[in-house]
């Protein structure tokens, strides 16, 4: 489990099926699909029939190839999308007409989980109601506290801001509203004194 002494750093307890939910909206990437399969095996036989699975395939070799294990559970819907953005747009559309009784799940990288929680919150769902599990890459979405630009798929620390070009120290300080970790200028005191870049978030 990912831990930190920064309180805002999200904790992902792991996917558990909500057996009371009338319908399930499940979002995952390739690594997260394994967590979804694990959850399906623990749920009742009809759980898959109540479930729509949105698969973000941006890290798939062939994005139309839906994970075989997921298909094997015969969910009501399983759709693949070429990017996280497209996946989230579909989730947003589905939540638009949703009734109470739906349960939202997110499994995979932190940017994916963060985007799902952010979208659910926009539909007035409590962030604690979204069931989450981290799998796969430790990559992060980073917001520059100086220019506010978001830098996607960050695997190194420090990292160059995609907006203003400053070298940013990636902190554990997290914003649920922006679904991003905060990055602060690393050489503010002594310009040019930049520690070696390390691949911390592979």
């Amino acid at each position: 489990m990912l831990v930190s002494d920064i309180k805002s750093r999200p904790i992902y307890p792991g996917l558990e099926p909500d057996l009371y939910a009338l319908s399930n909206l499940i979002v995952c990437d390739r690594a997260g699909a394994e967590a979804v399969s694990d959850m399906m095996r623990r749920a009742d036989a009809r759980f898959a029939e109540r479930s729509a699975i949105l698969i973000c395939a941006e890290d798939f070799d062939q994005w139309k190839a839906i994970d075989e294990a997921i298909q094997g559970f015969k969910p009501a819907v399983a759709t693949t999308f070429p990017s996280l953005n497209d996946t989230i747009l579909e989730l947003d559309a589905l939540l638009g007409g949703a009734k109470m009784g739906v349960c939202v799940y997110a499994a995979g990288s932190e940017p994916l989980i963060g985007s799902v929680v952010q979208t659910a919150m926009r539909h007035h769902i409590d962030h604690r109601s979204v069931r989450t599990e981290h799998r796969g890459s430790l990559k992060r979405r980073v917001q520059c506290v100086h220019c506010k630009a978001l830098t996607e798929n960050v695997t190194t620390n420090p990292v160059k801001c995609s907006g203003c070009g400053l070298m940013l120290l990636v902190r554990d300080h997290y914003s649920r509203r922006f679904a991003a970790f905060q990055g602060v200028c690393i050489d503010a005191e002594v310009p040019g004194e930049i520690p070696e870049q390390k691949a911390e978030f592979l």
Partner: protein
């Protein structure tokens, strides 16, 4: 509770609003403004009988949270009153003075909700009175579903309909009306929150139905002001204070301590908030946990007790107080 957190108030209005229900309005004795509060708040009222008997009961504030000039509470004379509600009905009149705590809110509005579904039973309407003031002022989407035994027991029915119109739905048991909870739960937009206050059976019914309809715990809110469950009398020993106090069959440990001038921390007096959690050092017999705060493991562990509602089946209990 500590005495510094209470203030002296004077009753300026007493109005019978329905069979067995009276509304009391009071102001600070010094004429100062009272603290503003949020919808769903309550105060704990201290009542002292001439013979020294002491009651402390929580009552929801019913007025507008925006009005700090006075507070209003409503008191239903309990069928099995342990003395507090009888005292309020029989002894408190215009000019009487009482001690009340600052407002406490353990039943607050979920401000990020899309919609609010309020479920009230009988005198359980009171916390919703201040909540609806606040929701209406914020132009929030809400519905009240209010179950009463009969027209004469239904406090405020007409006022509520006049004030909030079609957002208020009332159901009378004596006319065979049923509150259509199942239908309501099935047909709410995502982001709706449910709040229930009323008899214990109604609260259990609403919370269990909510979970069964797939509502997450985060969207289900309840408040109950039930008297602590009675039991057999026993002795409580306070290890640090080195004294022994008798707890009567109708009394909670907290009430017995207060009666003897001991003032341990407490807040909700209903086993919900966790403020009065106390370590058990020794006991005879099994603990009777009546709270909603400790986990099942903690209850089985027998090392902690919520002294506002829980007791022991044995004859002696030693506490770390």
């Amino acid at each position: 509770m500590t005495s510094s957190s209470t203030r002296r108030v004077r009753v300026v209005e007493v109005e019978p609003v329905a069979d067995r229900i009276k509304r009391f309005r009071f102001v600070d004795v010094s004429g100062e403004k009272l603290p503003t509060f949020s919808g769903g708040s309550h105060v704990v009222v201290t009542m002292r009988a001439p013979d020294g008997h002491l009651w402390r009961n929580p009552y929801s504030l019913m007025g507008s949270p925006a009005d700090a000039s006075s507070y209003q509470i409503s008191v239903c004379r309990a069928d099995d009153s342990r003395g507090g509600s009888d005292y309020m009905h029989d002894n408190v009149r215009v000019g009487s003075e009482l001690d009340v705590t600052n407002p406490i809110n353990l039943f607050s509005i979920a401000r990020k909700a899309r919609k609010h579904l309020l479920i009230a039973g009988g005198i359980g309407i009171t916390p919703f009175m201040s909540m609806m003031h606040e929701l209406a002022a914020a132009n929030a989407n809400f519905e009240l579903h209010y179950k009463v035994r009969s027209q004469t027991r239904g406090a405020f029915c007409n006022d509520l309909v006049r004030q909030y119109g079609s957002r208020v739905h009332t159901y009378r048991s004596d006319a065979g009306h049923a509150l259509p909870l199942g239908t309501l739960l099935r047909d709410q937009p995502v982001g709706t929150h449910l709040y229930v206050c009323g008899p214990q059976a109604m609260i259990d019914w609403a919370l269990e139905s909510g979970r069964a309809a797939g509502w997450p715990h985060e969207n289900l809110h309840s408040e109950h002001f039930s008297a602590p469950r009675p039991g057999s009398p026993f002795t409580v020993k306070l290890a640090r204070s080195e004294c022994e106090i008798q707890v009567g069959p109708q009394q909670s440990i907290l009430e017995a301590l207060e009666q003897n001038g001991i003032d341990p921390p407490s807040l909700c007096r209903g086993g919900a908030c966790g403020q009065c959690e106390t370590r058990v050092l020794a006991r005879t017999g099994a603990l009777q946990h009546n709270d909603h705060y400790l986990t099942e493991e903690e209850k089985l562990g027998g090392e902690k007790i919520m002294i506002c509602v829980s007791r022991t089946a044995g004859n002696c209990l030693t506490l770390d107080l």
